[in-house]
Amino acid sequence: MERRFHCTACGKCCSGLLPLTLADAFAHAGRFPLAMVWTPLRQQSKAFDLVRRIGAVVNLSGRKRIAVIIVPTAYIPDSFFCPALNADGRCAIHAEKPLRCRTMPFYPYREERDQADLLTPRKGWDCDTSAVAPVVYRERKIVAREDFDLERRELLAQAPLIRAYAEYMMKYMPQLADKLATAAVHGSGGNVVTSLSSYLTATRQLDIPGFAARQLSVLKNFAARTAGRPDLAEFHRNYAGWAKEMEYLAKRKSASA
């Protein structure tokens, strides 16, 4: 089995939620409004085993357990394009783009042998899958695998921090378990969104110089862009609320001072 694919730089995929590694999230804190996005997986899901390695297993009520991926994410509405996308539809930060963007169309949150669907362009995307496009996937293996492997390695390396965060949240936000259970029932892609401030507290990283100030600026910008948009009310509420949290963090004196 051979699949052909070539990116035409149409820019259509550069929109909506963008999953990031922890390192990329912090590196781009002056660019993307950040959130922690929790996506539960059903037991029968093909990615279940992988998710147990890169995500966390949490206890719901009644001794039920689910696997969940928890991803630092550029929290951007589907109808908004990436803030780094130029007017001509090209990436303004190509040299330092996040790993997630570099690995496209492949996706290390799924097994390597399960990437075929991702090579079918979504409606409206202009990806070239014709006979002149190069073979990128053969016998369920990725041909040029460097980016995929790099992103997968990062996800595995950061998993202990993700698990520490999950443990903290299960302890201090028990209603999160109910929200995850509801999201799990509602089928694929249902997710729960939590704040970066909770991640910073859980992993004791409250004093990253400049992080809060940069995020504050981005969140204010996105709050302004979503003001008066009833269809984006939840995004707006989150941007405005998290901006208040970052405002506090930006002002506080360093704990080590």
Partner: protein
């Protein structure tokens, strides 16, 4: 003369105000009330100070500061308070309005006394009623009433 937000009916400065200002809380309940009042008044240093050291770094102060701005506290009801040496519990319900919705925080909070001062240790949200059934009779098991019949044919019918 301001009524204390905790609902004690007393003056703020004689009630939670004193504890927030630094007077030691006499009981776990007094500390719990003062923490409720601290949230109402936005005096979050008091929350920080009255957290046991082992949980101090877990406190998401940024989020709490935001809550002070967004929550309108509507009342506290203390349901039960226990004290046994240097440990104590307080079960309470706190009502608040946020974003036009009313929420009830039902919590069983645990406290410890260290060097004479009560500190907050942990809280169990929405604690259920105490367990009353210790074993569950299976439907095919002999009925507990002693009839010799299966439970499903007898008392479980």
């Amino acid at each position: 003369m301001t009524l204390c937000p905790c609902g004690s009916g007393r003056n703020l400065e004689d009630c939670c105000g004193a504890v927030i200002a630094g007077a030691p809380a006499a009981t776990p309940e007094a500390l719990m009330r003062s923490r409720y009042t601290a949230f109402v008044l936005g005096k979050l240093d008091h929350i920080d100070r009255s957290n046991a050291p082992e949980i101090r770094d877990d406190f998401n102060r940024a989020e709490a500061e935001r809550s002070v701005q967004e929550c309108e506290w509507q009342g506290l009801e203390v349901m039960q308070a226990t004290e046994d040496g240097d440990i104590g519990t307080v079960e309470f319900m706190a009502r608040f309005n946020r974003g036009g919705q009313t929420f009830v925080q039902h919590e069983l909070a645990s406290f410890c006394r260290r060097d004479g001062a009560w500190l907050y240790l942990s809280g169990k949200i929405s604690p259920g009623p105490p367990q009353r059934r210790f074993t569950k009779t299976g439907r095919n098991d002999p009925c507990p009433c002693g009839s010799g019949r299966k439970y499903k044919k007898c008392c479980g019918a």
